[in-house]
Symmetry: C2
Subunit: 427 residues, 2 copies
Amino acid sequence: MASSSFQINGDRLNSTLQSTCTQWGALSTGTGMCRLTLTQEDKQVRDWLVTECKSLGCEVKVDQMGNIFAIRPGTAEDRSPIAMGSHLDTQPAGGRYDGILGVQAALEVLRTLRDNNVETYCPIALVDWTNEEGARFPGAMMASGVWSTKSSTSLDACWDVKDKEGIRMKDALDHIGYLGNTPCDYRANGFECHFELHIEQGPILEKERKSVGIVTSVQGMKWFAVRVNGVEGHSGTTLMPGRSDALVTSSRLITAVRDTALKTKLGVATVGMINSDTSSQATIPAGVNFIIDVRCSTDEMVDQLVIAMFKAFDDIVVEENNGTSYKIERSWGLPESEFHSHCIDAVRTSAVSQVGEEQIMQMKSRAGHDSAWTSRVCPTSMIFVPSKEGVSHNPNEYTSPEHCVLGAQILLGAVLIYDDKVKHGKH
Amino acid sequence: MASSSFQINGDRLNSTLQSTCTQWGALSTGTGMCRLTLTQEDKQVRDWLVTECKSLGCEVKVDQMGNIFAIRPGTAEDRSPIAMGSHLDTQPAGGRYDGILGVQAALEVLRTLRDNNVETYCPIALVDWTNEEGARFPGAMMASGVWSTKSSTSLDACWDVKDKEGIRMKDALDHIGYLGNTPCDYRANGFECHFELHIEQGPILEKERKSVGIVTSVQGMKWFAVRVNGVEGHSGTTLMPGRSDALVTSSRLITAVRDTALKTKLGVATVGMINSDTSSQATIPAGVNFIIDVRCSTDEMVDQLVIAMFKAFDDIVVEENNGTSYKIERSWGLPESEFHSHCIDAVRTSAVSQVGEEQIMQMKSRAGHDSAWTSRVCPTSMIFVPSKEGVSHNPNEYTSPEHCVLGAQILLGAVLIYDDKVKHGKH
């Protein structure tokens, strides 16, 4: 078994991760990051990544959604790459590990293969997926969704998505030089399989005192853009009983989102973004927009939670009886994803060889990942390493250097184990 | 009595009002207006106003807050002007009458005095007060408050207030050429008295089938900028029970603002503006900001409502018991204002001469006005004309041309009546 033969360079991994974060997207204080997709910070780290990968002998392709594929050749002539993917973009106030660790670990794997002159059977690819966060252009895991062809949002629809400044995604891709020619479609540019190292973004590994999570699935998710309509009015002259206040109704709906999730215990439901039509303190708002994020272990539970939530909404609107109303302006989602036993087994074997059974646990992912889309069209699984206090999407996000190194080492092992199976006709 | 001698030119008033709105600040559809204070639209209408007033023989002064004083001389050498003031700025989605009618009517009065070669005893002044709306730079009736020296917000503090783009008010004044040298202080630049024609912005005149409101007072108001703090987290991985969600707590507080006002029947309370720290749908917000606007007939009732509201807030925070907390970041206000019997009487006499007793009613103003500040340092009163369906701060705000003309005619009469009283030593 090749997995234990090669050691990644942990210091190189951690120092590269930290220095590239410091250079491109660091917030002014602490270790927080703001590297929104397709911004100048994202362009700079992409340019650096492309240069690094080329220097390692990789062929680099960019597809129509700006996904970067850096491919180190194998000896087989007719095999697709074994891919190691994640993302370099972050939330507006995110951390240095969510996504970034997965890409940096993939680079460290490529460096280790080069250092040791390893000849793999399959090509080995690093993938940087565009706009995983959906923080600048709404729609998380957007580009892997297009690539999988299984997302309800098509390439053209994604190109047309606008950021808050009204910039179209296609123009943003073009502007930073990452509107590539490679078709964004797994049928034209596919993988043997897809591995992703990621931080857990939750508290379970830490609480259970485990070092590694073998991820077997990703929970189902749905998002709903909600619009509440009322009637604008003067805050001083419009008497309380006659009001059709869109923000009061929205407030009750947002409370109901939380209450329904808490009561039904079906999953989690969150409102993060809210916008009132008015920027005046003296105006009863005519309208309010907000987005609901719903996630449960299964698609069925998502649907149950959503039905209960909208039932509560309808009851509130009837009870308010003040002319306010709500509508769902857009809904999109990510169905639950089961990972593939071949990939899960490769990760497990690699992990056991590093830390033994007692440091490992099987788990579901509660966050969405690009792997959820790749799992629909090629064997996929993920490796989780612990997040301090479960914190993520937050400048205090932290994973220890030791856990980063461990994750990368397990990733290398899983890739080589899988490659060996393919070479010997077992997968 | 001079009041009935001179007729204003109603067509001129209405066509000037409409054409200047169409040119400077009209929304793309309907009759809505967005003429935020100290923007290019505001500069253009100010420039036009200054030119018009100068062509009528007025001296024009601009003070340190950009207030414009256009003064037509009288025969008395030692008298301050009888002022007719209101404002040309609007809400972001406001109408063509709130404030604008008062300034345009004052201009029509000046034009009528010129057309008829009227020699008044006191000087007669048109005043355009800066930032009455507080929609761009938070703090309604800001510049009249500074001028009165009775506001808790000083000149320097107002100069430092920033808009959403971070532009300081002083820089915005300077940028459009309206950072004047005249002291913004009634002791250096005062009035004999102050009249203001304004739309009611409420439904009472229409409901009571009256044409004119004689305004005797303005209700008390307080504003509170509230900050709710929670803990940022990932919407998928943070379980419901452990959440410290600033938006859920804010939603409950905003609902409590409405519920407390409705239950206590003490007055009105509104939240129009709300901002979440995050622009990501996948993030539990760490913080939310909103502004509460409270208005009651008396200052005592304002205080009672505020106490009840914050008691409800405290109860909610205790009940949530999830680590979220709230604080009042800034509070400011406008105490209740009693208008002066001399001015009220002048308006009444003028109104009766136009429409008779049965078309008139005495009323309180539920909206704040610059007159609330001027009333603290000089005799003041207001004239209200009906608002269609009570709608204001809304593109559908409407007052009929006939009511605009009637208001201007009554304003002219009140000014001349007051002037006559001063001339004869009765005031």
